[in-house]
Symmetry: C2
Subunit: 332 residues, 2 copies
């Protein structure tokens, strides 16, 4: 196995987040369940946008958020994601480039626009409710996967959300095979409980086949994946299937289990929870940034907790503080 | 004169702000003078964007910011501005609509994109440095001015920035004539010292002709307009030409002079100056919201100060707090 060129190469959604505050009455009126994420079509994206409040537009996408955070903490990264040839696509690609992350897949010239996630942020507790129109992202073709790139990355990070559409799923399957053939690590973020409900058999098959080296989930997702309501049972079941399991639990902290050894971290204190969008993605960012530098799981968890705390202190998923300095300041 | 349908109708730029933090070295490297605003062409907009950091996209435009603030404080408003038929244009129009502000000018189908302002925000003091590509905004045609609309608005608000391109200037001249013919008030925001330098003769002619009822300027602009470096002399000179003069002076507060009577306000305390983008626009918003409800100049100044303080506490020009409640809480 040759020296890795990249620390992390990710396959995920090219999504621009459109964030606005909303109260409980708005969520009820629009039939939205607070804290949930759902996929919507273009028509619904237009009609929901029309009634949302004034919005901030920032780049998003789960794996993309993770890469940006990891890159800010020193990891070399590359993003495989499909934008359309439009202004929102330019925004997405720009915001990766400025972090030194290439997005080599050419913009798609077609009638489908760049994907977007309409995010309603509850002012009282910063909880986000997400409505994702995948747009061009769902057409990421399998031939966008370059064997040499996947073969040259320490970690291939897969975004669970993208298991839904057919072409990106095929692309991810192809990438998994390449990574395995070259002895590289495969990390999977299961993204959301609805992803697990839709693709439980597929995800379980991946785990059972030993195709996943690092599994990122929050506690709710871990329970859904293990099909139990007992947290310890879920952790035991999943830890038996993946070499490295990382499970977050919001303000309670997170746990990593590897080879039967358990490391834990408590959440970082946050002055005010403004917006939880991207907190899980940034936790993964911190963890991976530590992992690829050979840090202990305890240290990597702590890097995850610090990055997640920065993220929930402001609107939007992308870091607004120099994470490298933050980590240097706080990591013992 | 019939009852007014609108409190404020504005003619201004349809601009989307693209905000990123930048340090002094970046400004120096790009040849930018901190705190200044300059017009740039499309090529420069692309090249500067390429080197800017990860950015937030929010709606902007000086007069548009003012209208949004005024609408949030209870004024009924309408915006006359030119967007292109693109995604950024949709963002601009959306963000006006959700505040109940119609933007009736049809999007322009052409190769020129919606205007944008690339804003570098200095982290240490929140000072913004603006680079504006007017885009479609500079093609606002004179026939976008509907006589009945101008005739039905208590105040016609003109954005000085738009005096630069020919078509909008013609549109504004036409609107001034309609407003005067119908006994409506004309408010002018001179926008920036470079506007005054470019159009000193025009602005002076407007003032001398008695075509401006309310003049908004900051102290630097007032000095440039009066061509003196003596503040009192500038105030006296300008107050002699306009019935109502409103001059802001950043953290020092602001003054309004009407019929020889002077009202003043001190700036509202702010926890941390995050981004001064839009502070002047929001000051005008508060002042106008008070003015159209017949409040005293002292009260209107205080409304301006409260709205400006909210604005500089966060990234972006548009209010993130319910200004109506803020005013109700704080106005004695």
């Amino acid at each position: 196995m040759t020296e890795a060129t990249y620390d992390v190469v990710a396959i995920g959604n090219a999504i621009v987040d459109v964030l606005a505050n909303a109260d409980a009455a708005f969520l009820a009126r629009e039939g939205l369940v607070k804290g949930q994420m759902q996929l919507i079509d273009e028509e619904r994206a237009k009609s929901l946008y029309a009634v949302m409040g004034e919005a901030q537009v920032t780049s998003g996408g789960s794996a993309a958020n993770t890469l940006v955070g990891a890159a800010m903490m020193g990891a070399s990264c590359r993003m495989i994601a499909q934008v359309a040839a439009d202004q929102l696509g330019e925004v997405f690609v720009h915001d990766m480039h400025v972090q030194g992350i290439e997005c080599p897949v050419p913009p798609r010239e077609a009638s489908v626009e760049t994907g977007r996630c309409l995010i309603l942020v509850s002012e009282e507790d910063g909880e986000r409710t997400m409505n994702t129109f995948l747009g061009a992202a769902q057409f990421l073709p399998p031939d966008a996967i370059e064997e040499a790139v996947i073969a040259s990355a320490k970690v291939l990070l897969l975004e669970g959300y993208l298991w839904d559409p057919l072409e990106p799923r095929a692309a991810m399957k192809r990438a998994i095979r390449i990574a395995r053939d070259h002895g590289r690590k495969v990390a999977l973020g299961v993204s959301a409980t609805f992803c697990i409900m839709n693709h439980h058999a597929d995800f379980t098959a991946l785990l059972d086949a030993g195709d996943v080296d690092i599994l990122f989930a929050n506690q709710e997702e871990a329970l859904a994946l293990a099909q139990t309501d007992d947290v310890e049972a879920a952790l035991a079941q999943l830890a038996a299937k993946v070499p490295l399991l990382v499970v977050t639990h919001g303000p309670e902290g997170a746990v990593a289990i590897e080879g039967g050894e358990r490391a834990t971290v408590t959440a970082e204190p946050v002055d005010k929870v403004v917006d939880t969008t991207g907190a899980g993605d940034l936790f993964s960012a911190g963890f991976l940034a530590g992992y690829v530098r050979g840090r202990s799981n305890a240290d990597s968890l702590r890097m995850g907790a610090i990055a997640a705390a920065e993220c929930i202190g402001h609107m939007g998923a992308r870091p607004q503080t120099d994470l490298r300095h933050l980590i240097a300041d706080r990591l013992d």
